[in-house]
Symmetry: C2
Subunit: 870 residues, 2 copies
Amino acid sequence: MNAPATALAEVTDAARHGAKAARLARLIAAGAPVPPGFAFPDDAAPEALAPALAALEAQSGLGFGAPERPLLLALRSSPVETAAPSSPAILNIGLTRDTLPGLAARVGDRAAADLRRRLIQAFAPAAMGADAELFESLLYDRMKFSGVESEDALSLAALKALETEYLAAVEEDTGERFPEDARAQLSLAIAAMRTAWAAPTARILRGARGLAPDSAQALIAQTMTLGVGPGSSGAGFATTRSEEDGAPGFQGRYLAQAQGEDALMGLRTPRLLTEGARREAAQTAPSLEAEAPDAATKLEAQAALAELTLGDACRVEFTLEAGELHILDAQPLRPTARGAVRIAVDLAEAGVIGREAALLRIDPSTLTSHLHPTVSARAPRDVIGAGLPASPGAATGAIVFSSEAAETLAAREQAAILVRVETSPEDIRGMHAASGVLTARGGMTSHAAVIARGLGAPCVVGASDITLDIEGRTLTTADGRVLHEGDIVTIDGSAGEALAGSPELVQPEISGAFAVLMKWADEVRRMKVRANADTAQDAKVAIGFNVDGIGLCRTEHMFFEKNRITTMRRMILAADEHARRAALAELLPMQRSDFIGLFEIMAGLPVTIRLLDPPLHEFLPHGPREMNELAEAMGLPLKVVTRRAAEMREFNPMLGNRGCRVGVTYPEIYEMQARAVFEAAVAAGEKTGEPVIPEIMIPLVSANREMELLERIVERVAEQVRGESGAALCYRIGAMVETPRAALRAGDLAATAEFLSFGTNDLTQMTYGLSRDDAGRFMRDYVAKGVYPEDPFHTLDVEGVGELILLAAERGRARAPGLTLGLCGEHGGDPASIRFCELARFDYISCSPFRLPIARLAAAQARLLSPDSS
Amino acid sequence: MNAPATALAEVTDAARHGAKAARLARLIAAGAPVPPGFAFPDDAAPEALAPALAALEAQSGLGFGAPERPLLLALRSSPVETAAPSSPAILNIGLTRDTLPGLAARVGDRAAADLRRRLIQAFAPAAMGADAELFESLLYDRMKFSGVESEDALSLAALKALETEYLAAVEEDTGERFPEDARAQLSLAIAAMRTAWAAPTARILRGARGLAPDSAQALIAQTMTLGVGPGSSGAGFATTRSEEDGAPGFQGRYLAQAQGEDALMGLRTPRLLTEGARREAAQTAPSLEAEAPDAATKLEAQAALAELTLGDACRVEFTLEAGELHILDAQPLRPTARGAVRIAVDLAEAGVIGREAALLRIDPSTLTSHLHPTVSARAPRDVIGAGLPASPGAATGAIVFSSEAAETLAAREQAAILVRVETSPEDIRGMHAASGVLTARGGMTSHAAVIARGLGAPCVVGASDITLDIEGRTLTTADGRVLHEGDIVTIDGSAGEALAGSPELVQPEISGAFAVLMKWADEVRRMKVRANADTAQDAKVAIGFNVDGIGLCRTEHMFFEKNRITTMRRMILAADEHARRAALAELLPMQRSDFIGLFEIMAGLPVTIRLLDPPLHEFLPHGPREMNELAEAMGLPLKVVTRRAAEMREFNPMLGNRGCRVGVTYPEIYEMQARAVFEAAVAAGEKTGEPVIPEIMIPLVSANREMELLERIVERVAEQVRGESGAALCYRIGAMVETPRAALRAGDLAATAEFLSFGTNDLTQMTYGLSRDDAGRFMRDYVAKGVYPEDPFHTLDVEGVGELILLAAERGRARAPGLTLGLCGEHGGDPASIRFCELARFDYISCSPFRLPIARLAAAQARLLSPDSS
């Protein structure tokens, strides 16, 4: 068995003594003035601590419970799991009726009496079960009686009277007398710390952070540095960098005649540390620098030392006792997402940490905060609701009044703005799905505000000037306008306003520390990161994020444009191939010009073009008015058009005549698309001087024969375009692996396909037998009940879908060792899924343009964490 | 190199000399009077045949091309692949101007002249490219000139004149003189046989039978037995059994003064073989028995010998030459499906073949012809159309006017009657999907009639009294009634009538040879064969087919009954759990009584009950009238009911909130069903005295956590029912493996499930990403283009779906060696899929009741063909 207690300076094992004890040991080793103490498991018998206590007495020259030169102890929690919340410390242990005079000899009568009051007020509720409010109200009454505003203004007499009242209250409330023996106080305090740690609420809190509720804490008994008494005495905290933006600079707060976290409690206004800060804040109370320049200088040096020692920006907790500086702890700063990037980069550039450590320190998903678009200053603002700027950035989308509706739109890749009176935990999935959030009630710390900031989603809360009818699905503005579900609005989370329509948004730039971090990520990562980009607009955004190419261009979106959809519909409803070809001939130049745009922007980079994928009936009009228009445009009776459209409807469109089935059934459609691609490649290549090698991707393959048939068509068109243009046209052809069968038969596919790109959205749908459009209704329930650990549409299901992917990768490469493997679809921007792709040694991932930085960093991290990275 | 020619008696290798040559060798060895000859590859050089020819001359005492005692040869095709169609034989080779007198000395002048005419008429078109019609017309003219009705009545003089005319015609038409050298004739004939075999049409024919177009033929040169000449001379065929029903009995046809297939050509009326047959047919021409009793007796003995020798009922081809019997071939009979069973069983019972051979000889899918229901004689007949009885049996279903509609209904497991003016090859898939076929045009050999008989589907063709409007989707009867798509009709294929509505059908009984075959199959097979049965009616049919239990009882069908659907709908649209439970309490006794019925019928046999599977909205009303009724029944505003129903609608119901997801979302539904099952098990067990061990099957599982959650619910209900009833209730719980993920995670599932049943319909849908409801539109195209070798919904896709099944079987059994594995769904009745299940060592398969005999035989065959069967 280990010795029950270990001197703080000798702690090495954070798994045994907790991160705090280990951190203090490192600070001690670095020479920081940390008060001596010892660490022990929280179930150690108090008697077993005697040797350590004796050593501490010897070291400090004080005696625990000794009437002369009494030693006071602070008892602190040091959870073994870094992320576990610790219980509050119990201070001033050992201050008994007998040791009070000895303490008074050191700090004066008044300070000693104040410390005694503090001990009773904190100890009785924590260790004896007394009601804390009793003491608050006695203190309040006494202050009132004494005519003072703050407890540090109470006189010695008042404090003595208060002590008497406190002791009586303890006895009355608990039936026990306050323990006047130092060792009895310590035993009770240890038991209290143990009880607090094991309390149900503490267990739930640990569970909520994803920790084992049973994870352990160690305890630290440490010599008290008093912070109360003569000279410059007090407590506070200091940092070397701004939590807000990570910028370097010594700053912090200090409260005279204070202990522990008093400076954070807001009972009195704390002072600033430097004269500069004081001037800037126009504070009259002197700064620490002015009051105790030596201490301030030492503190700044200690903060820098802590940063160097711990390899991270820290919040240093300190106490001044009669002008002498003591360091109580140095916890890692919790900066904003932007701040974290700045700090990691600065530390790495200063050589405090390595670049790899800097890369690994940033949670990729927090980068969204760097990527918020903002409403253009030039854009007209039609404000429909004003509230609090709860989460910055701007987002445009369709109004929805329920989380389900938000999820449904998201599943169809349409932006939704979730509008609620206020949000509750049930809305989290909806908020995740929404592009922005607007609530009528709530403040900056309301549920909606907190969650939206966490998600990085633009959010306006407390827009009390709007009126919501959630049942009736309307939003009424202050000026009486009524907006309905589906109406387009824009959330300006930075300004705290909701705007009608879609004002121009300005895309963020990558610069400063963020740009440096991205550069390092690009140097480290092995996988290419491509974008899912359907339009020149998307492609430009992607280029701005230093993309490696386009991994998925969905050609169908091009057909939905106003001036094309009628031609598309004529093609779909054509009575025969001849009529179909005539409509396709009209679509050809439109597609070609789209592709030329893409190829020019992506000059020299690969562009993967997926041939038409959705069931054709998705393009058909739904309402009678549109149907009528189409009938007129086609010169056909409405009845005929309506009947043909009805005949195309499918029971399960996801599993219907879509993807390459359309290409097999109507080869002329894929012929036209291939021609548009090839002609565009020739044209763009000539213009930019960079040869374009388009990658043609065949969607929804389930058998290699589909690939063979379509490859033949594509090659025939390529041959024609070569003949017509005289250009040396090259292209690659590949299969989109979206059906389980395609994954199983990847060995066959690799005989024809030069690349396989996993469409994990569909592959997940098929593997689970679960439609993303329909899963929203019960997914919340499913994740809550732990049926699925995560929504498999957000994080790749490694056990099921992942196995199919690995199997396909293995079989494909066994057949064709040079086969290119990629992943497109939502998972391409999910760090956990990217990690999976690295382990499977994919060649690239492809994600939406705005997730590119996340994917680049995640790819770098995945590479660093990969077993074969070195 | 092998010797170019092999004496017929010495042929052993059918792969070299073809099945015909090998068969003849076996007949010779058995002592049959087969004319001697030799076999050789069709590309052998004629000179290389000299030794064999010399041996033949020596054996027969005749000389090829010799003026005295000339040897004539027949040249026959012997395809290496048994199923390949052979080219017609060329007869009488070697009959030249020089050998004619020698032949005349043997058979007389007139017969010799007739043989000469036959040679020229057959040889010139086959070997010299002459136009066959030239000779037909010269023959016709000559018969007219001579005033005779048949070529055997032509005089010697007329035949001589005809020879002259024929020779002139040859020279005129081909520019070549007719070869008057025996060896030249032989060389030309061999070349002609080779050319005919390699001709495009022959290649296409072989391809159409699924053979390699390049498969080879051998040739047989055989001593001619003339069939023309003095005494009893002629040709014919005899069998030992009826092709119609397989009943034993010597029978056949004989044509005097005839060669080859003359008796089948219908130029003259052939005679019958026995006096009995002659009397029965009231034929005046004497039977062979009467004309040549010795030859008839010998022929009967030879037919029996051939059956014994070849182990199958045969059609024996024979020639009589001057009263002497020669056997030219003995090909396996091609009986009807019923006849095949009778013959196989008779042969096995007679010890000619083993029982295993008998079992393997029957194509299971042909058994449907034994399984036709018939319209009850007591049922009233409302005839709506009368035509020809093209394919026997009766079927009831909804009228459809297109193959697509038939396939759509079939996909939903609803019976369709396909009504067409006439059918074309494009309708084959629709006919396959339909339960019966009705056409307005066509005869007994029309496309519809032939295909329907092949499929075993009841069919009436040529119902000219109905009027069809295929576009408008109506059928108008002779008496002016108009029927629409969806109206229920019944096809009586045995009577040739279509009836309105659904008259009572009488189910077939298993008896006679069929029953014996089934008994043998049951003795041989290892796998259990269960039925998919939802109702007591289904269960009774299954019991009649000697079922081993119910493998799939779909509980949802029970809710569609008129008096239940409203309660079901109230349950579905209930505002909260309380209201839902109230409706479920009403459904409980109904389900319980259904289950009691099933358990009583299946006393002692396992019954697998699948808990509710379809998306709940499938139960909701669609039309406004029904919606109104429901609103009234629920006492709710129509608007509310309509809205709730609309909210439940899904984009892809197949991938939506269905299967166990419903059970997880609304546990009270599965609770009610489990209670109904358990209470019924207790009640039925008490009544029949046979303990019922129900098997509860959880549908559409994708994660084992679903199984765990639902198993807990089921067990809790079981515990309650045990407590309430005091019965020792046992049950088994299992998972239906329908999603690829369930297959991949079968190892997990086996921790909870006691059995896994593969629902291959859904599993195929998910693996291909292909909805059966929607695939009909393009499946024809897909199979035609060879994208899929077969419709994967009919025959299990071994490469994709099959791999998932094997993987699941392996993982499930690795986790739980005693795990029961079964397959339900359409593939459970498909012989190829059953073979797969045997190889995977499944415990059972389950199919629709009427396919049970097919499945039982297929399971027996699969066992016999399995590598580990012995």
